[in-house]
């Protein structure tokens, strides 16, 4: 059996999504009063359209732009945590942690931590400038949002 190309793998995933979507569309309850079209019609049309498009995608040969370019081999030789995909994963995890800690710890501390920590992780070695920028930008944002625009941001453990 020949290996599936990237379009075919994505097409299969999309087809699964379409089937799941259609199954959910069929569970949308009907409106008690009769109407020319109910809430479920449009989703059903969308589900079938996506299914049809996944079939077309399965049959479409991937072009150069449909396949991710090879990553820089030099970057791939770096320690595991500094490789390109690791950078994306670490950033995504940091953002998730930021979201979870935002309310209990507070906007200022978590945001300074995120900006400083990620810039240092990405390779910025001038730590004092990094810290000053992080504190300056975050405080400016915090004061503008809370004092000027009247938007509440969580204070967390800091008494401001």
């Amino acid at each position: 059996m020949t290996r599936l190309n990237s379009n075919q793998v994505i097409a299969l995933l999309l087809a699964l999504l379409a089937v799941g979507y259609l199954a959910m569309a069929w569970q949308i309850p009907s409106f008690p009063l009769p109407r020319p079209i109910d809430s479920d019609l449009f989703p059903k049309v969308l589900g079938f359209t996506l299914l049809g498009l996944s079939v077309l995608l399965f049959l479409e040969k991937p072009k150069a732009q449909d396949v991710p370019e090879a990553l820089d081999p030099e970057e791939q030789q770096q320690p595991l945590l500094l490789r390109p995909w690791s950078r994306v994963v670490v950033t995504a995890i940091s953002l998730a942690v930021y979201a979870v800690l935002l309310v209990p710890v507070g906007f200022v501390l978590t945001s300074v931590g995120l900006v400083f920590g990620l810039a240092a992780y990405y390779g910025y070695r001038r730590h004092w400038i990094n810290l000053a920028t992080a504190v300056g930008v975050v405080l400016a944002l915090y004061l503008t949002m809370t004092r000027v625009m009247g938007v509440y941001l969580p204070t967390g453990v800091l008494p401001i």
Binding site: L50, L53, L56, W85, L102, V115, G117, Y122, G123, M149
Partner: protein, 498 residues
Amino acid sequence: MEALNNLMYGFSIALEPINLFYVFAGVFAGTVIGMLPGLGPISALALMIPLTFGMEPSSGLILMAGVYYGAIFGGSTSSILLNAPGVAGTVATSFDGYPMAKQGMAGKALAIAAYASFIGGTVSIIFLMMVAPLLGRVAVSFGPAEYFSLMVLGLTAVVSLSDKSLVKGLIAAVVGVMISIMGIDLQTGTERFTFGTVHLLDGIEFLVVALGIFALAEVFYMLLKGGGGKEQPRNAIGSLKLSKSEVKDIAAPIGRSSILGFFTGVLPGAGATIGSFLGYSMEKRLAKDGDTFGKGNIKGVAAPESANNAACTGSFVPLLTLGVPGSGSTAVLLGALLVMGVSPGPAMLVDRPDVFWGVVASMYLGNIFLLVLNLPLIPLIAKILDMPRPLLLSLILIFCMIGVYGMSFSVFDLLLLLGFGLLGLGMRLFGFPAAPLILALILGAIMEESMRRALQISGGDWSIFIDKPISMWLLIIAALSLMLPLVKQAIKLAKARS
């Protein structure tokens, strides 16, 4: 005369000190964000939306319009200095702008870009003033069937004119519509695709998707491509002065490309990118020295720059008169307007003339700001390009997070933002265009509403969409627009064979 009176009314709004400040701030912020490689007008607009919370709609739109054409203008700076266009609409500018910079004439290229943008922008505002009210009058007669067909056309045009796979563009559009209809169905009160969570009852905020798919995905992409630590060397700027003969050389190309750009912008799906490429190729064909295009010809900078700014203004025509955006950027603008409680459309000219004419007048001022302030400030603003990339990326991340949190105060939305960022990265890596998704996200719910209203009027008879002549023609054009990529491919094959 009526247009002149309306314009005067618009100026009375745009010249209010606070609005003057917003024009300046929008143009400046747009220039700075648009200059950063990778961050285009859609990211710039999405990043600025949180600032419009609680603003007067006219002020909010004045700010956002400034960001939009500022971003297009800013993109030319990184095109010329780094050969790294911040915006797709300025890719054509880099063809001759970067060679000029390498020859030590970066200042000249930037000055030409500024003058061309100014003239392109100003000429197209005059056209906008003339065309928009006319189109608005026609659009008043549109019913739900016509609106549905118009939105179908807007979506298919964006899909067919993108340089990526037609099937993938359509998939992106369908997924965008799917996201848009999540939550409570406003017509029946039925819950759809909420997965039993209260967080999804109101659906997904478009800002979460826009920031995720564009700005956050761009940061992820830069991290993947080694943008974390590497800096690009940029060319020195040099003198900004132009000689008389150079001014004479670029005058005609700027005039022609401005008009071409405007009408390209009005068409759904076209816009700054296509406008700039059309302007560039038209001038290359017309020029006696066409063979020097790509090697630092000043007309090769003037034409795409005037065309892209003109197209940017042109794209306001369908947005303001029909309430249907023709591009990803104007879709984000529409989203911002809806957040502010304004629904653009034919009625807006009558109901909210302050918004329409205020924005038109602010565009004149914005273009003057772009020229008078940005030209002398360009050497200073360009220093932003020297900002260490690691610091810049982490700051963009925090802007995205605070933008979403400041709007919804929801940690769930922050996690959704992350999810859409990763989805955007995947789309980018595997060749799925993002503009159809964002346009569909904005249009999806309105499209369904129009479709259901039309069917309610016809008692469930689908032929209403072809019985009405305007609706029928819009659907025919939509179908033809989907054939366009096939026709292009057939021509390519025929050429290759011959």
